[in-house]
Protein backbone atom coordinates (compact mmCIF):
# COMPACT_ATOMS: atom_id res chain seq x y z
CA UNK A 1 0.00 0.00 0.00
CA UNK A 2 1.36 3.35 -1.04
CA UNK A 3 -0.17 6.73 -0.58
CA UNK A 4 0.63 9.93 -2.44
CA UNK A 5 4.24 8.85 -2.81
CA UNK A 6 5.45 10.33 -6.06
CA UNK A 7 8.77 8.79 -6.99
CA UNK A 8 8.75 8.89 -10.78
CA UNK A 9 8.72 12.05 -12.86
CA UNK A 10 5.67 12.30 -15.10
CA UNK A 11 6.04 12.07 -18.87
CA UNK A 12 5.48 15.47 -20.50
CA UNK A 13 2.24 16.19 -22.35
CA UNK A 14 2.11 17.53 -25.91
CA UNK A 15 -0.57 19.21 -27.99
CA UNK A 16 -3.35 17.05 -29.42
CA UNK A 17 -2.52 18.66 -32.80
CA UNK A 18 -5.05 19.02 -35.62
CA UNK A 19 -5.40 15.41 -36.76
CA UNK A 20 -7.22 13.69 -33.87
CA UNK A 21 -10.48 13.95 -35.79
CA UNK A 22 -10.49 10.45 -37.23
CA UNK A 23 -8.95 8.87 -34.12
CA UNK A 24 -10.60 10.11 -30.94
CA UNK A 25 -14.25 10.90 -31.76
CA UNK A 26 -16.52 7.83 -31.84
CA UNK A 27 -20.20 7.09 -32.27
CA UNK A 28 -22.36 8.60 -29.48
CA UNK A 29 -19.19 9.90 -27.81
CA UNK A 30 -20.95 12.94 -26.37
CA UNK A 31 -24.14 11.09 -25.39
CA UNK A 32 -23.73 9.99 -21.77
CA UNK A 33 -27.45 9.26 -21.84
CA UNK A 34 -29.94 8.90 -24.66
CA UNK A 35 -31.78 12.09 -25.49
CA UNK A 36 -35.06 10.38 -24.54
CA UNK A 37 -33.76 9.47 -21.07
CA UNK A 38 -35.88 11.04 -18.33
CA UNK A 39 -33.91 13.94 -16.86
CA UNK A 40 -31.53 14.24 -19.80
CA UNK A 41 -30.10 17.70 -20.37
CA UNK A 42 -27.86 19.33 -22.92
CA UNK A 43 -24.55 20.70 -21.62
CA UNK A 44 -23.14 23.07 -24.20
CA UNK A 45 -21.03 26.14 -24.82
CA UNK A 46 -18.23 27.58 -26.91
CA UNK A 47 -14.43 27.39 -26.61
CA UNK A 48 -12.75 30.79 -27.21
CA UNK A 49 -9.18 31.97 -27.74
CA UNK A 50 -7.54 35.11 -26.36
CA UNK A 51 -9.14 37.34 -28.96
CA UNK A 52 -12.60 35.99 -28.28
CA UNK A 53 -12.57 33.97 -31.49
CA UNK A 54 -14.14 30.51 -31.28
CA UNK A 55 -11.61 27.67 -31.53
CA UNK A 56 -12.71 25.16 -34.18
CA UNK A 57 -10.27 22.41 -33.21
CA UNK A 58 -10.66 21.63 -29.53
CA UNK A 59 -11.68 18.32 -27.96
CA UNK A 60 -13.41 18.19 -24.58
CA UNK A 61 -14.03 15.34 -22.18
CA UNK A 62 -16.33 15.23 -19.18
CA UNK A 63 -16.44 12.80 -16.29
CA UNK A 64 -19.21 12.98 -13.73
CA UNK A 65 -21.37 11.22 -11.15
CA UNK A 66 -24.92 10.14 -11.97
CA UNK A 67 -28.05 11.98 -10.79
CA UNK A 68 -27.81 10.40 -7.35
CA UNK A 69 -24.12 11.24 -6.88
CA UNK A 70 -22.86 7.71 -7.60
CA UNK A 71 -19.58 7.40 -9.53
CA UNK A 72 -20.10 4.76 -12.22
CA UNK A 73 -17.68 1.81 -12.46
CA UNK A 74 -19.42 0.50 -15.59
CA UNK A 75 -17.49 -0.08 -18.80
CA UNK A 76 -19.03 0.76 -22.17
CA UNK A 77 -18.21 4.42 -22.76
CA UNK A 78 -16.82 3.63 -26.21
CA UNK A 79 -19.64 1.31 -27.26
CA UNK A 80 -22.82 2.86 -25.86
CA UNK A 81 -25.83 0.64 -25.19
CA UNK A 82 -28.10 3.65 -24.44
CA UNK A 83 -28.89 2.26 -20.99
CA UNK A 84 -25.67 2.07 -18.98
CA UNK A 85 -24.49 5.31 -17.44
CA UNK A 86 -20.68 5.29 -17.53
CA UNK A 87 -20.17 8.96 -16.58
CA UNK A 88 -17.68 9.69 -19.38
CA UNK A 89 -18.19 11.69 -22.56
CA UNK A 90 -16.07 13.18 -25.32
CA UNK A 91 -16.98 15.98 -27.72
CA UNK A 92 -15.04 17.59 -30.54
CA UNK A 93 -16.19 21.19 -31.06
CA UNK A 94 -17.78 22.12 -34.38
CA UNK A 95 -16.45 24.69 -36.86
CA UNK A 96 -17.86 27.47 -34.68
CA UNK A 97 -16.18 26.22 -31.52
CA UNK A 98 -19.45 24.90 -30.10
CA UNK A 99 -19.66 21.67 -28.12
CA UNK A 100 -22.64 19.66 -26.95
CA UNK A 101 -23.02 16.80 -24.48
CA UNK A 102 -26.24 14.98 -23.66
CA UNK A 103 -26.07 14.04 -20.00
CA UNK A 104 -27.80 14.34 -16.62
CA UNK A 105 -27.26 16.75 -13.75
CA UNK A 106 -24.70 15.13 -11.46
CA UNK A 107 -25.86 14.62 -7.89
CA UNK A 108 -23.77 15.63 -4.88
CA UNK A 109 -21.19 12.92 -4.18
CA UNK A 110 -21.39 13.76 -0.48
CA UNK A 111 -24.12 15.40 1.57
CA UNK A 112 -23.89 19.20 1.25
CA UNK A 113 -21.19 19.13 -1.45
CA UNK A 114 -21.61 21.31 -4.51
CA UNK A 115 -22.08 19.01 -7.53
CA UNK A 116 -19.71 19.54 -10.42
CA UNK A 117 -18.64 17.91 -13.68
CA UNK A 118 -14.91 17.38 -14.23
CA UNK A 119 -13.78 18.77 -17.60
CA UNK A 120 -10.53 18.36 -19.50
CA UNK A 121 -9.67 20.51 -22.54
CA UNK A 122 -7.36 19.64 -25.46
CA UNK A 123 -6.77 21.81 -28.53
CA UNK A 124 -4.42 22.40 -31.40
CA UNK A 125 -2.15 25.20 -30.21
CA UNK A 126 -2.60 24.15 -26.59
CA UNK A 127 0.62 22.42 -25.56
CA UNK A 128 -0.80 20.51 -22.60
CA UNK A 129 -4.20 19.45 -21.26
CA UNK A 130 -6.19 21.79 -19.04
CA UNK A 131 -8.49 20.67 -16.23
CA UNK A 132 -11.41 22.59 -14.85
CA UNK A 133 -14.81 22.06 -13.18
CA UNK A 134 -18.34 22.86 -14.27
CA UNK A 135 -20.44 23.58 -11.18
CA UNK A 136 -24.23 23.44 -11.24
CA UNK A 137 -25.69 26.85 -10.33
CA UNK A 138 -28.56 25.81 -8.02
CA UNK A 139 -27.23 24.92 -4.59
CA UNK A 140 -25.98 28.34 -3.57
CA UNK A 141 -25.19 27.30 0.02
CA UNK A 142 -23.04 24.44 -1.20
CA UNK A 143 -21.35 26.73 -3.74
CA UNK A 144 -20.60 29.27 -1.00
CA UNK A 145 -18.99 26.53 1.11
CA UNK A 146 -17.05 24.91 -1.69
CA UNK A 147 -13.31 24.91 -0.88
CA UNK A 148 -12.17 25.59 -4.45
CA UNK A 149 -14.71 28.31 -5.22
CA UNK A 150 -14.09 29.98 -1.84
CA UNK A 151 -10.40 30.25 -2.67
CA UNK A 152 -11.14 32.34 -5.78
CA UNK A 153 -11.97 36.02 -6.19
CA UNK A 154 -15.60 36.60 -7.18
CA UNK A 155 -14.91 37.53 -10.81
CA UNK A 156 -12.90 34.36 -11.38
CA UNK A 157 -15.24 32.10 -9.41
CA UNK A 158 -18.09 32.72 -11.80
CA UNK A 159 -16.12 31.27 -14.72
CA UNK A 160 -16.66 27.82 -13.14
CA UNK A 161 -20.42 28.00 -12.64
CA UNK A 162 -22.69 26.96 -15.50
CA UNK A 163 -25.84 28.88 -16.45
CA UNK A 164 -29.19 27.11 -16.34
CA UNK A 165 -31.22 27.79 -19.45
CA UNK A 166 -35.01 28.08 -19.44
CA UNK A 167 -35.46 24.56 -20.82
CA UNK A 168 -33.22 23.02 -18.15
CA UNK A 169 -30.05 22.81 -20.25
CA UNK A 170 -26.65 23.88 -18.91
CA UNK A 171 -24.53 26.47 -20.70
CA UNK A 172 -20.79 26.78 -20.05
CA UNK A 173 -18.22 28.65 -22.14
CA UNK A 174 -14.49 27.96 -21.96
CA UNK A 175 -12.13 30.90 -22.46
CA UNK A 176 -8.51 29.81 -22.81
CA UNK A 177 -7.17 33.33 -22.46
CA UNK A 178 -8.08 36.96 -21.88
CA UNK A 179 -11.04 38.62 -20.29
CA UNK A 180 -13.02 36.17 -18.13
CA UNK A 181 -10.35 33.53 -18.68
CA UNK A 182 -11.64 30.24 -17.27
CA UNK A 183 -9.99 29.08 -14.06
CA UNK A 184 -7.87 26.03 -14.89
CA UNK A 185 -6.64 23.69 -12.20
CA UNK A 186 -3.47 21.97 -11.08
CA UNK A 187 -3.46 19.07 -8.65
CA UNK A 188 -0.87 17.78 -6.19
CA UNK A 189 1.64 15.36 -7.71
CA UNK A 190 1.27 16.85 -11.17
Amino acid sequence: MTQNSTQLVATPGQTIGPFYGYALPYEKDSQLVHRAHAGSIRLHGVVYDGQGTPIPDALLEIWQADETGVISRETGSLVRDDHTFTGFGRAAVDNEGHYTFTTVNPGATQEGKAPFISLVVFARGLLNKLHTRIYLPEDTDALANDPLLSSLPEERRKTLIATREANGDLYFDIRLQGENETVFLSYPGA
Binding site: G50, W63, I117, L127
Partner: protein
Protein backbone atom coordinates in the same frame (compact mmCIF):
# COMPACT_ATOMS: atom_id res chain seq x y z
CA UNK B 1 -1.28 24.89 -50.83
CA UNK B 2 1.76 22.66 -50.91
CA UNK B 3 2.43 21.93 -47.26
CA UNK B 4 -0.08 20.13 -45.08
CA UNK B 5 -2.18 22.09 -42.66
CA UNK B 6 -0.99 20.61 -39.41
CA UNK B 7 -1.30 23.39 -36.88
CA UNK B 8 -3.14 25.60 -39.35
CA UNK B 9 -6.42 23.75 -39.29
CA UNK B 10 -8.06 26.55 -41.20
CA UNK B 11 -5.43 28.69 -42.77
CA UNK B 12 -7.42 31.87 -43.27
CA UNK B 13 -8.72 31.75 -39.73
CA UNK B 14 -5.70 30.73 -37.74
CA UNK B 15 -2.88 32.52 -39.45
CA UNK B 16 -4.75 35.81 -39.50
CA UNK B 17 -5.53 35.58 -35.84
CA UNK B 18 -2.13 34.46 -34.71
CA UNK B 19 -0.21 36.86 -36.88
CA UNK B 20 -2.29 39.79 -35.70
CA UNK B 21 -0.55 39.65 -32.37
CA UNK B 22 2.93 38.67 -33.54
CA UNK B 23 3.66 40.29 -36.85
CA UNK B 24 2.03 40.27 -40.21
CA UNK B 25 4.61 37.91 -41.67
CA UNK B 26 4.65 35.41 -38.81
CA UNK B 27 3.88 32.48 -41.07
CA UNK B 28 6.92 33.31 -43.20
CA UNK B 29 9.45 33.30 -40.37
CA UNK B 30 12.58 31.37 -41.22
CA UNK B 31 13.71 28.27 -39.37
CA UNK B 32 16.68 30.26 -38.08
CA UNK B 33 14.37 32.83 -36.57
CA UNK B 34 12.32 30.13 -34.83
CA UNK B 35 15.42 28.23 -33.71
CA UNK B 36 16.91 31.40 -32.23
CA UNK B 37 13.68 32.09 -30.41
CA UNK B 38 13.69 28.53 -29.01
CA UNK B 39 17.34 28.75 -27.99
CA UNK B 40 16.82 32.05 -26.21
CA UNK B 41 14.01 30.59 -24.10
CA UNK B 42 16.10 27.51 -23.34
CA UNK B 43 19.12 29.63 -22.34
CA UNK B 44 16.96 31.64 -19.95
CA UNK B 45 15.64 28.41 -18.50
CA UNK B 46 19.17 27.02 -18.00
CA UNK B 47 20.27 30.21 -16.34
CA UNK B 48 17.25 30.20 -14.05
CA UNK B 49 17.90 26.60 -13.11
CA UNK B 50 21.52 27.43 -12.29
CA UNK B 51 20.20 30.15 -10.01
CA UNK B 52 18.01 27.65 -8.18
CA UNK B 53 14.74 27.85 -10.05
CA UNK B 54 12.89 24.52 -10.27
CA UNK B 55 13.44 21.97 -13.00
CA UNK B 56 10.63 21.95 -15.55
CA UNK B 57 9.12 18.60 -16.44
CA UNK B 58 6.13 19.58 -18.62
CA UNK B 59 5.93 21.74 -21.77
CA UNK B 60 5.47 25.49 -21.44
CA UNK B 61 1.95 26.30 -22.56
CA UNK B 62 3.10 29.84 -23.38
CA UNK B 63 5.68 29.11 -26.07
CA UNK B 64 5.72 31.71 -28.85
CA UNK B 65 7.86 29.71 -31.34
CA UNK B 66 4.78 27.46 -31.65
CA UNK B 67 2.67 30.17 -33.27
CA UNK B 68 -0.72 28.65 -32.58
CA UNK B 69 -0.05 28.66 -28.83
CA UNK B 70 0.04 32.46 -28.64
CA UNK B 71 -3.71 32.96 -28.24
CA UNK B 72 -4.48 29.55 -26.84
CA UNK B 73 -2.76 29.44 -23.46
CA UNK B 74 -4.09 30.73 -20.15
CA UNK B 75 -2.16 33.76 -18.93
CA UNK B 76 -3.14 33.23 -15.30
CA UNK B 77 -1.41 30.57 -13.22
CA UNK B 78 -3.17 27.25 -12.89
CA UNK B 79 -5.17 27.34 -9.67
CA UNK B 80 -4.21 24.72 -7.12
CA UNK B 81 -7.07 22.38 -6.27
CA UNK B 82 -7.28 19.42 -3.96
CA UNK B 83 -8.87 16.70 -6.04
CA UNK B 84 -12.30 15.69 -4.82
CA UNK B 85 -14.66 12.78 -5.36
CA UNK B 86 -15.12 12.34 -9.12
CA UNK B 87 -11.58 13.61 -9.82
CA UNK B 88 -10.15 10.74 -7.79
CA UNK B 89 -11.65 8.16 -10.16
CA UNK B 90 -11.45 7.47 -13.87
CA UNK B 91 -13.91 5.98 -16.30
CA UNK B 92 -13.72 2.19 -16.52
CA UNK B 93 -12.98 0.65 -19.91
CA UNK B 94 -13.26 -3.02 -20.75
CA UNK B 95 -13.41 -5.55 -23.53
CA UNK B 96 -16.81 -4.22 -24.51
CA UNK B 97 -15.00 -1.01 -25.46
CA UNK B 98 -11.86 -2.27 -27.15
CA UNK B 99 -11.22 -5.34 -29.30
CA UNK B 100 -7.79 -6.98 -29.05
CA UNK B 101 -7.23 -6.57 -32.82
CA UNK B 102 -7.41 -2.78 -32.56
CA UNK B 103 -3.82 -2.81 -31.29
CA UNK B 104 -2.56 -3.92 -34.71
CA UNK B 105 -2.69 -1.00 -37.16
CA UNK B 106 -1.35 -3.16 -40.00
CA UNK B 107 -4.39 -5.46 -40.31
CA UNK B 108 -7.24 -2.99 -40.64
CA UNK B 109 -7.56 -3.30 -44.42
CA UNK B 110 -7.33 -5.98 -47.07
CA UNK B 111 -3.64 -5.48 -47.83
CA UNK B 112 -0.45 -4.79 -45.96
CA UNK B 113 0.39 -1.13 -45.45
CA UNK B 114 3.63 0.18 -46.98
CA UNK B 115 6.55 1.13 -44.79
CA UNK B 116 8.67 -0.18 -41.97
CA UNK B 117 6.64 -2.48 -39.70
CA UNK B 118 7.36 -1.74 -36.04
CA UNK B 119 6.21 -2.88 -32.62
CA UNK B 120 5.95 -0.26 -29.86
CA UNK B 121 5.53 -1.58 -26.36
CA UNK B 122 5.87 -0.31 -22.83
CA UNK B 123 4.15 0.24 -19.53
CA UNK B 124 1.82 2.88 -18.19
CA UNK B 125 2.76 3.69 -14.59
CA UNK B 126 1.54 6.20 -12.06
CA UNK B 127 3.82 8.57 -10.18
CA UNK B 128 4.41 5.98 -7.48
CA UNK B 129 5.48 3.40 -10.04
CA UNK B 130 2.26 1.38 -9.76
CA UNK B 131 1.06 -0.16 -13.04
CA UNK B 132 -2.06 1.46 -14.45
CA UNK B 133 -4.23 -1.59 -15.13
CA UNK B 134 -6.98 -2.14 -17.68
CA UNK B 135 -6.92 1.43 -18.87
CA UNK B 136 -7.46 2.82 -22.33
CA UNK B 137 -4.54 3.77 -24.59
CA UNK B 138 -5.37 5.40 -27.95
CA UNK B 139 -2.88 6.28 -30.69
CA UNK B 140 -2.95 8.03 -34.06
CA UNK B 141 -0.23 8.79 -36.57
CA UNK B 142 0.81 9.65 -40.12
CA UNK B 143 1.66 6.89 -42.58
CA UNK B 144 5.11 5.95 -43.93
CA UNK B 145 4.98 8.94 -46.29
CA UNK B 146 4.04 11.50 -43.62
CA UNK B 147 0.37 11.72 -44.53
CA UNK B 148 -2.65 11.54 -42.23
CA UNK B 149 -6.04 10.21 -43.24
CA UNK B 150 -7.65 13.54 -42.50
CA UNK B 151 -9.50 15.88 -44.79
CA UNK B 152 -7.43 18.82 -43.59
CA UNK B 153 -4.12 17.14 -44.38
CA UNK B 154 -3.09 18.57 -47.75
CA UNK B 155 0.54 17.40 -47.73
CA UNK B 156 1.11 16.05 -51.26
CA UNK B 157 2.38 12.68 -50.05
CA UNK B 158 0.51 9.49 -50.89
CA UNK B 159 -2.34 8.14 -48.82
CA UNK B 160 -1.94 4.42 -48.14
CA UNK B 161 -5.28 2.68 -48.72
CA UNK B 162 -4.14 -0.03 -46.32
CA UNK B 163 -3.29 2.27 -43.43
CA UNK B 164 -5.61 4.43 -41.32
CA UNK B 165 -3.14 5.10 -38.53
CA UNK B 166 -5.50 4.70 -35.56
CA UNK B 167 -5.20 2.12 -32.77
CA UNK B 168 -6.45 1.36 -29.28
CA UNK B 169 -5.69 -1.11 -26.53
CA UNK B 170 -6.28 -1.74 -22.85
CA UNK B 171 -3.27 -2.02 -20.56
CA UNK B 172 -2.59 -5.39 -18.95
CA UNK B 173 -2.40 -6.14 -15.23
CA UNK B 174 1.22 -5.03 -15.27
CA UNK B 175 0.32 -1.75 -17.03
CA UNK B 176 1.72 -3.00 -20.33
CA UNK B 177 0.56 -1.97 -23.78
CA UNK B 178 1.71 -3.03 -27.24
CA UNK B 179 0.95 -1.79 -30.75
CA UNK B 180 2.00 -3.13 -34.12
CA UNK B 181 2.16 -0.35 -36.69
CA UNK B 182 4.21 1.32 -39.43
CA UNK B 183 6.95 3.82 -38.67
CA UNK B 184 5.50 7.26 -39.42
CA UNK B 185 7.46 9.78 -41.50
CA UNK B 186 8.13 13.44 -40.70
CA UNK B 187 5.74 15.90 -42.32
CA UNK B 188 5.71 19.62 -43.19
CA UNK B 189 3.47 22.14 -41.45
CA UNK B 190 2.86 25.86 -41.62
CA UNK B 191 4.25 27.17 -38.36
CA UNK B 192 7.06 28.88 -40.29
CA UNK B 193 8.83 28.55 -43.62
CA UNK B 194 10.14 25.00 -44.23
CA UNK B 195 8.79 23.69 -40.93
CA UNK B 196 8.85 19.90 -40.46
CA UNK B 197 7.61 17.83 -37.54
CA UNK B 198 9.89 15.02 -36.32
CA UNK B 199 8.26 11.60 -36.81
CA UNK B 200 5.86 10.90 -33.94
CA UNK B 201 2.93 8.84 -32.73
CA UNK B 202 0.17 10.63 -30.78
CA UNK B 203 -0.74 8.87 -27.50
CA UNK B 204 -3.85 9.42 -25.36
CA UNK B 205 -3.84 7.99 -21.83
CA UNK B 206 -6.06 7.56 -18.80
CA UNK B 207 -4.91 6.86 -15.26
CA UNK B 208 -6.70 5.74 -12.12
CA UNK B 209 -7.62 9.37 -11.31
CA UNK B 210 -9.14 11.66 -13.94
CA UNK B 211 -6.52 14.26 -12.93
CA UNK B 212 -3.94 12.00 -14.66
CA UNK B 213 -5.64 12.19 -18.06
CA UNK B 214 -3.05 13.11 -20.67
CA UNK B 215 -2.29 13.37 -24.39
CA UNK B 216 1.27 13.39 -25.67
CA UNK B 217 3.51 12.39 -28.59
CA UNK B 218 6.12 9.64 -28.78
CA UNK B 219 9.22 10.32 -30.87
CA UNK B 220 11.93 8.09 -32.38
CA UNK B 221 15.56 8.13 -31.25
CA UNK B 222 18.04 10.33 -33.08
CA UNK B 223 15.55 12.32 -35.14
CA UNK B 224 17.49 15.15 -36.88
CA UNK B 225 14.44 17.43 -36.63
CA UNK B 226 14.32 17.53 -32.82
CA UNK B 227 16.23 20.78 -32.36
CA UNK B 228 14.12 22.54 -35.00
CA UNK B 229 10.66 21.61 -33.73
CA UNK B 230 8.88 24.16 -31.52
CA UNK B 231 6.35 21.60 -30.25
CA UNK B 232 9.01 19.20 -28.97
CA UNK B 233 11.18 22.10 -27.77
CA UNK B 234 8.29 23.62 -25.79
CA UNK B 235 9.66 21.26 -23.13
CA UNK B 236 12.62 23.36 -22.02
CA UNK B 237 14.49 20.66 -20.10
CA UNK B 238 16.55 18.09 -22.01
CA UNK B 239 15.89 15.30 -19.51
CA UNK B 240 12.17 15.94 -19.75
CA UNK B 241 12.32 15.99 -23.57
CA UNK B 242 14.15 12.66 -23.51
CA UNK B 243 11.14 11.13 -21.73
CA UNK B 244 9.17 11.40 -24.99
CA UNK B 245 11.72 9.46 -27.03
CA UNK B 246 11.28 5.70 -27.42
CA UNK B 247 14.26 3.36 -27.21
CA UNK B 248 15.17 0.99 -30.01
CA UNK B 249 15.02 -2.45 -28.38
CA UNK B 250 16.42 -5.44 -30.23
CA UNK B 251 14.64 -7.74 -27.78
CA UNK B 252 11.36 -6.36 -29.09
CA UNK B 253 12.52 -6.68 -32.70
CA UNK B 254 11.37 -10.02 -34.12
CA UNK B 255 13.12 -12.21 -36.67
CA UNK B 256 12.16 -11.36 -40.26
CA UNK B 257 9.07 -9.49 -39.11
CA UNK B 258 9.32 -6.09 -37.33
CA UNK B 259 11.73 -3.78 -35.55
CA UNK B 260 10.89 -2.93 -31.95
CA UNK B 261 10.77 0.08 -29.67
CA UNK B 262 10.01 0.42 -25.99
CA UNK B 263 8.50 3.48 -24.35
CA UNK B 264 7.20 3.67 -20.78
CA UNK B 265 4.75 6.39 -19.81
CA UNK B 266 4.53 7.83 -16.30
CA UNK B 267 1.35 9.63 -15.35
CA UNK B 268 1.21 12.22 -12.60
CA UNK B 269 0.75 11.05 -9.02
CA UNK B 270 -2.48 9.43 -7.94
CA UNK B 271 -4.16 11.26 -5.08
CA UNK B 272 -6.54 8.50 -4.20
CA UNK B 273 -6.13 6.71 -0.86
CA UNK B 274 -5.17 3.28 -2.09
CA UNK B 275 -6.57 0.28 -0.25
CA UNK B 276 -4.95 -3.15 -0.25
CA UNK B 277 -7.80 -4.62 -2.27
CA UNK B 278 -7.59 -1.93 -4.93
CA UNK B 279 -3.90 -2.54 -5.33
CA UNK B 280 -4.59 -6.24 -5.70
CA UNK B 281 -7.70 -5.83 -7.84
Amino acid sequence: MTANTDETFDESHVIENDSAVIDSDAAADSQDFITNQINKIHDEYQQGKAEGRPEETQPRIDFAPYRSSVLRHPTKDLHHADPETIELWSPAFGHRDVHALEADLTIQHNGEPLGERIVVRGKVLDGAGRPVRNQLVEIWQANAAGRYIHKRDQHPAPIDPNFTGVGRCLTGDDGSYEFTTIKPAPYPWKNHHNAWRPAHIHFSLFGTDFTQRMITQMYFPGDPLFSLDPIYQSITDQQARDRLVATYDHNVTSHEWATGYTWDIVLSGSNRTWMEDEDAE
